[in-house]
Amino acid sequence: MSTRLARILTTLFVLATVLLPIYWLVSTSLKSNREITQEGTLYPHVPTLANYVRLFTEKQFGSYLTNSLVVTFVSVAIALVAGAMGAYAIARFRLPLAMEGKVGLFLLTLRIIPPVVILIPVYLLMLSLGLLDTWLGLIVTYTAFNVTFCVWMMESFFREIPVDLEEAAMVDGDSRFGAFRRITLPLAAPGLAATAIFAVLVTFNEFLFALALTATPRAMTMPRGTATLIGRIDTDWASMAAAGVIGALPIVFFALLVQRHLVRGLTMGAVK
């Protein structure tokens, strides 16, 4: 009995820990700024959707959201295509001696460099290319980051797929690329989905480069646009909470769509 009680209490504690921030965000988004800052209520005493309306009528949040969706999905799509081919090449072909076994580490090193270190060079590059404050500038930047991540992550997925299947297809007359596209890639789909989720999460939430590379609602992404609600004297907390709720929805939606693949993808490569 005591064990059961402990389990229930532990479950409740974990649930509260996980759900409380979400509750607080949603609850705050339904309060007025006065209620948030001056009254500190546990739940909205006078629930209002005005904060959501204000985001779209006064704060150009529709543009921020559109920019985020376009930039994220285009850059992740390009990175997945390029990354899949790169990862396949590393997994299947022998590389020059000095590079054997080191490419993955090299790509990982590129990914773990603190972004702030290369922020200024990227800014100057985009300036010289005339790509500041454009979708293209962000897409190019995010794609560069995502490709390294995709290659590094997908390499292990391709290694898990028996090469015999491709060879059988080629014996039957398929080309190398055809075997890759028709045999290997479908088998690696769970890994592709897992990679896509992580890439989408990282890209959709990215702030630093969006901060440096965008200046107007034409290109500002959702996290970047939300930051404009922070004022010198007063901050629109209610709208920020509403922005948080709306901004979380596409990611939650996307994760729900591909969660089946995510679980399979995460266990690919695990010890059988």
Binding site: T37, T228, L229, L257
Partner: protein, 437 residues
């Protein structure tokens, strides 16, 4: 089942993508249509601040009627200085007009990235300007010490005042029943009476966060105690006897009469304390003061009045105006200068005053129906005394060094004078390294 599930997912994805593409197309098509709708394009960059609300709501529509196609872009205060400075220096040309915080003018001036507005036809000698405000638009300064390299340079009008923001006192009229408290001693004494009567919880509230917030809150007290920041050779003298007395009063007496968490307070918390009815007085800029009569923004509407900052020796506030500069890389430079001429005309300034924002021309303070009770008080404060922060491109660094030491003393609840000695040494060392002496 599996098949139907796959179809559903696919159809949902397709639907979502279709929606995203449709929204994208509408947005992309919509932006140029909006841009084509009006006449002379002017892209204004501003940091988010409640003090600009009347301008956004009332003046921009009038500007459109006057033939300007105003695009107003807001950004977070903390990033605007770096963003705009990079924009101006690199010539990226993303803005026609920056609405700067006035301490930033020296940095932009020293970098020579703003247009000469005097050459553009804006008359800085017009007697209708509030003198202390138009002075802030010149680089190098017309009066006071100058930084190295600009000793003999001719002052150029690179910015014009946009909103005449400055600190004033907001107080509870049911605690200070005889009108605005005249001295700091009165603030504390009557505030304690208000606490004892259960009308308020704390006599005073201010910002204690390290850096700009705490320095901004301490500065009017420092000025009121008779302090001066630098001598005419850029030697720090803020740790004079007057300065130390002000700092000791600030981290000691004021802290004891403020909310317990004041060390971590920024503008949101101090705004909530006064608008929520907890505090007796606050010295603040117009962003929160403009909310004092709005029941949707405050629990004590009708109980908040405005006055000149209390004095110890003098009643002097800090000025922190919005000031407009046109980058040399502005894509619509001529439009921006024409807009500024229209905006700073006596007629438009009068409309700004009627809209509730503090104007920058003296004539506009005298309109029959100013849109906010704060406006005549702001003029009283200007006449009583209001000073800008020292005109150096390195003010942000100075403020950071001083703010750290003041915050430490505030945490301790004592040692304000010693904190100023430490900060003065650090500032001196920093300015020495920067070649000031």
């Amino acid at each position: 089942m599996t098949h139907s599930s796959r179809l559903t997912r696919r159809s949902v994805i397709k639907g979502g993508l279709g929606l995203a593409l449709a929204t994208t197309a509408l947005t992309t098509l919509g932006l140029p249509m909006a841009a084509r709708a009006a006449g002379k394009k002017v892209i204004i960059g501003a940091f988010t601040d409640g003090g600009l609300t009347p301008f956004k709501q009332k003046i921009i529509p009038q500007a459109k009627e006057a033939g300007f196609d105003v695009e107003f872009l807001e950004d977070e205060y903390g990033v605007t200085l770096e963003k705009w400075f990079a924009d101006a220096q690199s010539g990226a040309g993303q803005y026609d007009l920056y609405l700067l915080d006035d301490p930033w003018v020296p940095q932009f001036g020293a970098a020579n990235v703003l247009e000469d507005l005097g050459a553009g036809g804006i008359d800085g000698s017009d007697k209708d300007w509030i003198g202390s405000m138009i002075d802030m638009g010149y680089w190098p300064p017309q009066q006071g010490p100058r930084v190295k390299g600009f000793e003999d340079a001719k002052p150029t009008l690179i910015c014009v005042p946009f909103v005449g923001d400055l600190q004033t006192l907001t107080y509870r009229n049911d605690v200070f029943t005889g009108g605005a408290p005249k001295t700091w001693d009165e603030v504390i004494a009557k505030g304690k009476e208000g606490v004892a009567a259960g009308t308020i919880k704390y006599p005073v509230v201010f910002r204690g966060v390290s850096g700009n917030p705490i320095v901004t809150s301490w500065y009017p007290i420092f000025l009121s105690f008779g302090g001066s920041f630098f001598d005419d050779k850029w030697n720090p003298i803020f740790n004079s006897a007057e300065g130390k007395a002000s700092a000791d009063f600030f981290v000691g007496t004021m802290k004891q009469n403020a909310p317990s968490g004041v060390v971590e307070f920024d503008s949101d918390q101090e705004g909530a304390a006064i608008l929520g009815g907890e505090a007796g007085v606050i010295i603040q800029y117009s962003g929160n003061a403009l909310k004092a009569d709005d029941p949707a923004q405050t629990k004590v509407a009708g109980k908040l009045d405005f006055g000149v900052v209390p004095k110890q020796e003098k009643a002097i506030a800090q000025m922190g105006i919005f000031i407009a500069g046109v980058p040399k890389s502005a894509p619509n430079k001529a439009n921006a200068i024409e807009f500024l001429k229209w905006y700073t005309s006596a007629e438009t300034q009068a409309k700004l005053s009627e809209a509730g924002s503090i104007p920058v021309k003296r004539s506009a303070f005298g309109v029959a129906k100013p849109g906010n009770r704060l406006i005549p008080v702001a003029l009283q404060q200007l006449d009583a005394g209001a000073l800008p922060r020292p005109r150096t491109p390195d003010w942000a660094k100075v403020e950071e060094l001083l703010g750290i030491e003041l915050n430490k003393a505030l945490q301790a609840g004592s040692g304000g004078g010693a904190a100023l000695d430490t900060a003065a040494k650090q500032v001196k060392d920093y300015l020495t390294t920067a070649g000031y002496y």
